[in-house]
Symmetry: C2
């Protein structure tokens, strides 16, 4: 028997612990091609909120009574799958469960000597690749351009900001916390950071920090913060729609200024994406990110929550902006 | 002395004839490099509404007391510019004036044997090139895809729809008039046309006519019509923001559903543009459009208003959707 965390009810607005339930389940014997796993680190990510709703999105919804699934790194404790020996580590989409039996197909082996294990669900996983491909394929940054990043101290934002600095750009971050602001300025050397919760005038502060206007906007949050950034875009601006975390818990259709006239006036491009669009090129991204990490050009930070039973609490904390960098749960 | 039409006051909302004034002005002697012109056909286009406002847009505003400027085709009646002989025709940006003295630099000679003169401010001018480059550079249509075109019976829409048909696409037009609908279906062979003013359910009618969803949306109008089309887009959709005529007369910031979450879910691209972005490639577009016209693969239609003094009335009529195809004023 082991514990799993299932979706008990669909949240209306911000999820609460009542939407989750821990239950005991049997763990079956291994069939051929399967492995038994002990999760080491499990990921909580903003996109998971979408899966808690019913109805189609870019990923199918979680089912009621079924375990929550997410990225994770785990130790192989028993194996009937060649290439996945006992004692090795794997990463993949895993159920929130303390002991897992799963098909090895779809898992990737990871090398604990290469980086801390949790990095494989962070800077060397989905969030890192999201920053890399969003910037490269949609942002198409040129040296000297100005980029604004919302959700700048999150898992994707800290990587995107550093990659933009490496490309010779002026990087302005938006965050909602003074400690995060100091981290982005002092540790990651952003050119400017705005605490949107304390600034008296967001529009004015963006204009001050981006005196030549905004060429690229890497949007992780949406809503009124984005309205302010968009008001300052330059001709031929590129707007990368990576996340809209400020709206994920909305219970009615969010309304705002219609932006098509602005895109028209500015010949601007706005594009949404999900990292799996670039799955065939993940190796390119991982090679580049690993190299930059190895030589110390990329820094990385995480907020760690300890304990399997705190997974729901950690996911909820994402929407309260409690994490600096990637939020992970160590078991 | 000649007559010119100047901007007398800036409109609030829909322009009225009171915003314009006819005044008499002197026409100077020719300096070197100049020509004297007798306008043959002058253009009224939706984008001109933006220039009637103060403040920056993608083209600078008209000045109060100064003549309205727009596309036009004219006869050269006197010339001190080599290459622009008396009796030849030119097209370019011209003031609304019955007799014009202007620098020849910036004018293009046109060949009246090649096409009716008015075509050079239509299908072989800005509107035709707008359709061509919007489709080619943003729409990136693939054979078999479904495209929806709003403002389908306008100067740009009729060209865009036919180009999409030539590329083997399913073409759905949206228009606001039964006569236009019949024209698009019977003369231009659109696969489906919706009269948004009479349909009981726009969303449902789009879904019925585009059963595989919408891959490309060529948007000339914006507003609630666009909301309905966007609700039906497919993954990797491209949304070409060419015009937003339904909003040009708005007196407050138009509000609507925030669309970033949709673009995110669908990995969709939305891009605004102005045809002059592609100025270096106009010859490519004109060659292609001329060829298709010559072999009869492109049809073209215009609505003609007669008389210089009716220019303001013609411009206002654009916003009332009174034109089938390009709206022109013959002097």
């Amino acid at each position: 028997m082991t514990n799993q965390i299932v979706l008990k009810s669909r949240p209306i607005g911000l999820p609460t612990s009542a939407n989750f339930e821990i239950r005991e389940v049997n763990v079956p014997e291994l069939a051929n091609g399967q492995v038994r796993l002990l999760p080491h680190t499990l990921s909580v990510d903003p996109y998971m909120r979408g899966r808690m709703n019913d109805g189609p999105s870019y990923v199918p919804p979680f089912q009621l009574g079924e375990p929550i699934m997410g990225g994770g790194v785990a130790l192989v404790t028993e194996s009937k799958a060649p290439g996945y020996p006992v004692g090795s580590y794997v990463m993949g989409f895993l159920p929130w469960q303390q002991e897992i039996v799963i098909d090895a197909k779809g898992l990737n082996s990871v090398d604990p000597a290469m980086a801390p294990l949790s990095y494989f669900i962070g800077i060397l996983g989905m969030p890192g690749l999201t920053a890399y491909f969003g910037l490269k394929e949609i942002g198409k940054l040129q040296p000297g351009e100005t980029i604004v990043i919302s959700g700048a101290a999150g898992a994707v934002g800290i990587v995107a900001g550093q990659l933009a600095k490496i490309q010779g750009c002026r990087v302005i971050g938006i965050t909602g916390d003074e400690k995060k602001k100091q981290y982005l300025l002092e540790e990651l050397h952003f050119d400017g950071v705005i605490n949107y919760k304390t600034t008296p005038n967001l529009d004015l502060e963006i204009a001050t920090l981006a005196p030549s206007g905004v060429d690229v906007y890497f949007d992780n949050v949406g809503g009124e913060i984005s309205d302010a950034v968009l008001s300052q875009i330059n001709k031929n601006a590129r707007i990368i729609i990576c996340g809209q975390i400020s709206l994920y818990n909305a219970t009615t259709q969010p309304m705002g200024p219609r932006i098509q006239s602005l895109l028209l006036k500015k010949s601007a491009l706005m594009q949404g994406f999900i990292v799996s669009n670039y799955a065939s090129r993940f190796n390119e991204g991982l090679t580049e990110l690993s190299k930059l990490l190895a030589v110390g050009h990329l820094k990385y930070t995480q907020t760690t929550v300890h304990g399997f039973e705190r997974l729901p609490e950690a996911l909820i904390a994402l929407f309260e902006g409690k994490n600096l960098g990637k939020l992970i749960v160590e078991l």
